[in-house]
């Protein structure tokens, strides 16, 4: 009994000490647990997908370290600071995108990176944070829902960087940038009638535009929308990933036993198509566990956003939380053949890129907004 009490109190002490540390760091415990579990899952899968490469694991850990640093730093930033930072960050991002596009134009090739000597750096990643920040801060000073004049400004804020990124061309990132901005506008209460109208206008424009396209352009769009019609080209990825997922079955073939992944049939298996590796090696159950983890993180993030105070904080927080799941849906959709192939990584699971840092930075902002709620209230 006494021993139990001792253990109990020891546990309670450890717990409270952790809680105090977290609150000092302005981090959220449940969200951190979710992210930690997801990271462990990522390392297990990456080890298999990379062909048992320890170097891959070390590089991933290094990126997570950088991301964690950014998360802690941003968690300490107050909403007011972030709000004042938004225009500068956005402006700098646009400038860098223009530079990258110019270099790409001169070099006659796809260009996404800015080589700063020590690190290579993707300016488009900045925009994933800068766009919702600027959009949220714009709406912070205005009445919700946005009227049509505000809507035009917001559209400009969102479409300019998305278009620049799409020209690189990096369709996946462009879609995500558009999604973060659009989510701010949607969460700000854009009327359903307007949403419906825009959707109809978009469809109409697409139908009219279709008539003006050349045959080869139509063919490219058809293949984009239905990759399976081009089994040796872009459809190859989808066919192989469907084989991988389908052959995994309910329980999977086992860790490091996926023949599709291990024998190189699955392209980009440790990056954009890692979802298929999970499907093959861990089966449907492995994917459900993954989706539950994502849903848990999403729910906690949405909770944090809804509890934070101020229009800016709530809009930004909700946009960041929901964008995280948009990643999941687009990636899973394209790997399973539900959506066209755009280069979107599976958040925190795919190897490489700067998206890990950006995502963790986004969660840092969310936690900061939540932890600063009382300060704003008082």
């Amino acid at each position: 009994m006494i021993l139990d009490d001792n253990r109990d109190s020891a546990a309670r002490r450890t717990f409270s000490a952790t809680a105090r540390l977290l609150s000092a760091l302005k981090l959220d415990g449940p969200l951190l647990v979710g992210l930690g579990l997801l990271t462990v899952y990522a390392l297990i899968v990456q080890y298999s997908a990379s062909g048992q490469s320890l170097e891959t694991i070390l590089r991933t850990l290094m990126r997570i370290g950088i991301g964690a640093f950014a998360m802690i730093a941003l968690a300490h930033s107050s909403p007011n600071f972030l709000r004042s930072l938004a225009p500068w960050l956005y402006g700098a991002g646009i400038l860098l995108l223009l530079v990258v596009d110019a270099i790409g134009y001169v070099g006659k090739g796809a260009q996404r990176w800015l080589d700063l000597g020590l690190i290579r750096f993707q300016p488009s990643e900045i925009m994933k944070l800068a766009v919702p920040m600027l959009a949220a801060s714009f709406m912070h000073e205005r009445r919700l829902p946005p009227d049509w004049r505000n809507l035009i400004v917001l559209a400009g804020i969102v479409i300019l960087p998305a278009a620049l990124v799409a020209m690189q061309p990096d369709l996946g990132t462009a879609v995500l940038i558009f999604a973060t901005g659009a989510l701010v506008v949607l969460m700000a209460g854009l009327q359903w009638q307007v949403i419906g109208g825009l959707a109809c206008a978009g469809t109409g424009a697409a139908v009219i535009g279709w008539r003006f396209l050349h045959d080869y352009q139509r063919q490219r769009i058809r293949i984009f929308l239905d990759p399976q019609s081009d089994p040796l080209g872009s459809g190859y990825h989808i066919i192989q990933s469907q084989i991988a997922i389908g052959s995994g079955g309910l329980f999977g073939k086992g860790w490091m036993n996926g023949s599709q992944a291990q024998l190189d049939f699955l392209p980009e298996r440790s990056t954009d198509f890692i979802f298929a590796v999970i499907g093959e090696e861990f089966g449907l159950l492995g994917l459900i566990v993954l989706l539950l983890l994502y849903l848990f993180i999403l729910s906690r993030a949405v909770f944090l956003a809804s509890q934070s105070s101020g229009t800016f904080a709530r809009l930004l927080g909700l946009s960041l939380a929901l964008t995280f799941f948009v990643y999941v849906l687009i990636n899973a959709g394209m790997v399973t053949g539900l959506l066209p192939v755009v280069g979107v990584p599976l958040p925190l699971i795919s190897y490489g890129g700067t998206s890990v840092v950006t995502l963790l930075a986004g969660f840092g902002i969310l936690m900061g907004l939540y932890s600063h709620r009382k300060l704003v209230n008082s």
Partner: protein, 643 residues
Amino acid sequence: MRIKDQWNEQRIYSSRTFAAMLIIGLLSLALLGKLAYLQIIRHDYYLELSQGNRVRQDPIPASRGLILDRRGRVLVDNEPAFQLELIREQTPDLPGTLQRLAKLGLINQEDIEPLKRIIHSRRSFDSVPIRLRLSDEEIGRFAVHRYEFEGVELRARQTRHYPYGELGVHALGYVAAVSEDDLDRIDKPGYAGTTLIGKLGVESAYETQLHGLNGYQQILVNAQGRSVKFQGAYQPDLRAEAPVAGRDLVLALDLPTQQAAEAALGDHRGAIVALDPTNGDVLALVSHPGFDPSLFSRGLTRSEYSQLTNNEDKPLLNRALRGTYPSGSTIKPVMALAGLTYNLIDPERREFCNGSFHLPGSSHMYREGKGGKHGAVDLVDALARSCDVYFYGLAAQLGVERIATFAAQFGIGSLTGIDISGEKPGLLPTPEWKKQAFRRPQDQVWFPGETVNFGIGQGYLLVTPLQLAHMTAELAERGRSYRPRLVMGVRDANGVIVRNPAVAASGATGISAANWDLVLRGMIGATTYGTAALIGKDARYRIAGKTGTAQVFTVAQNAHYNAKTVAERLRDHAWFIAFAPAEAPRIAISVLVENGGFGASAAAPLARRVMDAYLLEGPAPAATTTPAAATPAGAPQSAGATQ
């Protein structure tokens, strides 16, 4: 105001968050649905696909059967050589790859287009040979540039080896790379991995038996089709099926006999065919000039090929099977048998030969082939000394129909049925044939003079050396005939030779033993005191033979024929047929020397050397190894006309 705003904003957030979560929930359900479809409903389908993906069947070519002579001596075997093979689906730029190979000198520029067609007609994952038998230097050249040639591999494969070079090439045939035409005929999957296919002779006729069954080995491959070792804990169940080697063929051919025949014919254009009259076994089959079969298995360049095809000596022509010539006097034994059988000849009666023959009521003069007179000759003398006048008269009495019917019993004008393809039937002329062969009515008439010429094997009559050997075998066996065969049987897995039974052919019937004896005496006479006395003089066995001279052009009525004055190409073809030992024949032979002049001097000694090689089973006696080209001194020309 502020509070009201906040309340309004709170309402918007809540409803929008709810809507967003609802949409996310619905989309997640859609995703789950798709996953369940892929992983549960279609699981078996995709599992099968994934297994097909990682395992590829790599063909293992069966080793081609050997070709042995009748005593099991190896005539054709296999040896390893390096070759270039290309897999279409692994070659990113096929035309460019072939162009660069041509630039490196590894393939010929003119072969690129045919190669492309061949590559495209095979399955995309088949490894198609594009260049055979690389030299060490070429292997090195390719190795240096290997990185430029994705999908092209250097592979060691078995290739055909002909240890005796040109020996028997027209009987054995050769192998060459599988061509577009071959692809239409063969079972393509069965030939996956096979480089060479038989093109002629035994190699072609017995292709299915020689080829065997290719095996396969399942290998683990990655998406690029490269063979990989298994990774992770993945344990594949890889199956393999060993190839079944082709059957070893045992030929009827006797190597020393074949060698003797090759040596005897030497540089002459011509052919020698030797048969075992008791069963149709082809003991030797030579056609000169020949060619080196290994040229084809390595792949001929266009210029090498045109050299072969444009050569006026026609080395690719199988003279033994496809060369057709007038039989000359070698037909006379058959004529004699016809005359005896139709009771037109009294063997005792001596006809007078004054050197020329007239048909009744005609001034046209049929002369002895070489001029001269034989004086009084009976049937045996007429055969032994090849008296044309005797046979002119006999032919005129027999008439063309009876001659043709009788000659047909000895296989003249029809295929012998030898077990390799390409044989020609020659021509057995009849009035019926003449009506069909000529367009102008005046040409369609059969003239009595043509019958007279028929009697000494001139005119329209055409035979092949194989046909004459076949006829000779039938003479030796007194009417019994067997289908000639090059392949006697197969050697089974235990090394035991399994012989096929001889196949009887329709022979000659209704000829009395006495008549056979008479003709035999005439033919023995030819090699003892007649036209071919030279070769019988010191033989340790008795030979029954008959010389023949096939006219290349007709001698003008009053011109004096002189072999030395006409161009070599216009000289007569020399024939000799024989069987031995005369009492119990074991070998029947026909020898043709194109433009050799007289059968007695040009062809008969060659036959003797071949028979010696077979019957005495040792080197031929020195006395008979007279160089074939030289005209032997003291040839029986004094006897007047000899054929």
